[in-house]
Symmetry: C2
Subunit: 337 residues, 2 copies
């Protein structure tokens, strides 16, 4: 049984410290690493480190610089950013491997998820949107390349993602109907039924929109990443739907914790950094309520995974991902951290 190998509580602090996976400024503290469960034979640290290194390399290969070079530089700047956490691709690969499928089946889609995710972030950061001059501790794309080029880099990354999937998914591992479903899934997640709607509602702002915006802007990417992995592996429909709910919960949880951390950081520094438009869930409902919701999301995500008990240790990466999303730099429920 997967869950008996590594209990829920022992997963609270996992040794997740691979390159790019945890923001340096929000890195797990040493004591969190020391609480690693001794009971598992599954080496999670190696699993994540290896996987992220492979994804980084494949992303690098996926966007070679061609003429006109500048647009490729702008695309690569955001996709290959050092601070990128690779959450969508790792969730996609981990979901695929849950069902015993070869990760080679998932890599092209994993890379595509990172591309469309980066495209979405580039456009979200624009002055007319969230007006963020920086992203992951680096100047945002338009700060370096200008607003026009940032728009074009995003416009180029979206289709490159789709093309990358079709051109690179190994046909001996993934039948064409599955590839088509993956494309539909990503298109649904990034468009007016997903992230674009989320960004619009985020711009509108206010209590009436914030929950929907969170679901759409952040839940969709998690949902889509988990579902794509399952689709590529040929999972059953009920398993795909289970991972859909898991991925959505983790996606929203991830962002909620980001917002909580930001709010705490602001409080400590006495500074106030207002977004140009819209408000985060934390700004609307407060840290306490957000932490409650985060715990609910953690429980919800794990409950979904419990349904995959028959897959044994293959579930561990997905369990650990929940706690990674929840526990970056502090334990949810401990308001003193």
């Amino acid at each position: 049984m997967a869950f008996s190998v590594l209990s829920s509580s022992s997963l609270l602090y996992l040794p997740l410290k691979p390159r790019n996976f945890i923001l340096p400024i929000r890195c797990s503290s040493p004591q969190s690493i020391s609480t690693q469960s001794k009971s598992t034979q599954f080496d999670l640290k190696t699993y994540w480190t290896t996987l992220i290194a492979e994804i980084d390399q494949k992303l690098d290969e996926a966007i070679p610089v061609k003429y006109p070079e500048q647009i490729y530089h702008a695309m690569r700047y955001s996709v290959l950013a050092k601070g990128a956490k690779r959450s969508p691709p790792v969730m996609c690969v981990a979901s695929c491997e849950l069902f015993g499928a070869d990760r080679l089946a998932a890599f092209p889609t994993a890379c595509a998820l990172e591309m469309v995710h980066a495209a979405s972030l580039i456009h979200d950061d624009l002055p007319c949107m969230d007006d963020d001059p920086s992203r992951r501790g680096q100047p945002s794309n338009h700060t370096i390349y200008g607003v026009d080029m940032a728009i074009l880099a995003g416009d180029a990354l979206f289709p490159l993602g789709f093309r990358h999937i079709v051109s690179n998914t190994p046909s001996n591992l993934v039948p064409e109907p599955r590839v088509l479903r993956v494309i539909t899934e990503i298109a649904r997640a990034v468009g007016s039924t997903g992230m674009a709607a989320g960004q619009f509602l985020d711009l509108e702002g206010g209590p009436n929109f914030v929950e929907f915006a969170q679901e759409k802007k952040f839940g969709e990417m998690g949902e889509c990443s988990a579902v794509c992995g399952a689709l590529l592996a040929g999972a059953e429909e009920d398993e795909i739907e289970r991972l859909r709910r898991y991925g959505r919960a983790v996606g929203v949880l991830y962002q909620l914790v980001d917002d909580i951390l930001e709010e705490k950081s602001k409080s400590k520094n006495g500074g106030v950094v207002e977004k140009k438009k819209g408000k985060s869930y934390v700004e609307v409902f407060g840290v306490e309520k957000a932490m409650e919701v985060a715990e609910e999301l953690r429980a919800k995500a794990k409950l979904e995974l419990d349904g995959f008990e028959k897959y044994g240790e293959s579930t561990l990466p997905l369990y650990s991902f929940v706690d990674y999303a929840a526990d970056r730099g502090f334990k949810i429920g401990d308001s003193s951290s």
Copy 2:
């Protein structure tokens, strides 16, 4: 023989005046209609009128308004614009029908081409790009909905196009591998290898870039539209490549004539309307040179079609499309018009 049915010269003035197909302000003059060839039994006028009405209806159905409504209104505003000429979708359907395939096989892709084309135009019109406050005689998308919403409407239309193809292409008419190739083709045409690169080079401007920009910004859409129709119909590889060259020539020709008409209109009015950045081929090389190139493109496109002689009258719509692209409101070679 297709070409004997309706000779090249008789095609110079075709009765193409269906709704939306010709810009009202650049409509064919009455005398151009009167020169219609009497020799053909193929009713081109009915062909185009019926086809465009079908495309309009399918586009209307393809973008139902959902929550949040405003993003769908913005998407529909540009896609369903009254002045839209539907060139990409009609070329796709005509190419598909060239090979005897059912137009139902092509409609979802035809609609997707119009969606991604509209998305590209919305972004091209933005203040940081070409800064066009109007499009097809109407206020451009950002003029009505704001820059943020215009960016999101474009971001939503690109993936909707891909999703529409996968979800709506009839599987009994088009096998999955063809659908995948269509997706790759469109993704190639709109991305950094195609229109996004063209827009970047257009922003750069100058003689060193203008030809490449024309090819990428306008040729790609024509090429992609023609190729997709052929792919959906299951054409042979050499036929696909022939239509690729045809489509690219027509795409560039179409825009070149647009630019010639604009330049002539400017000269007549004594007005100068400068683009914010970049220059058109006509602005860089002059009307005379542009008209020479336009005639070369017309000849090149028709030469490619001559290779499809065995398909008889099915070639007529594609021949007529070349002349429609070339002869809107004036005859190339007649500088007095």
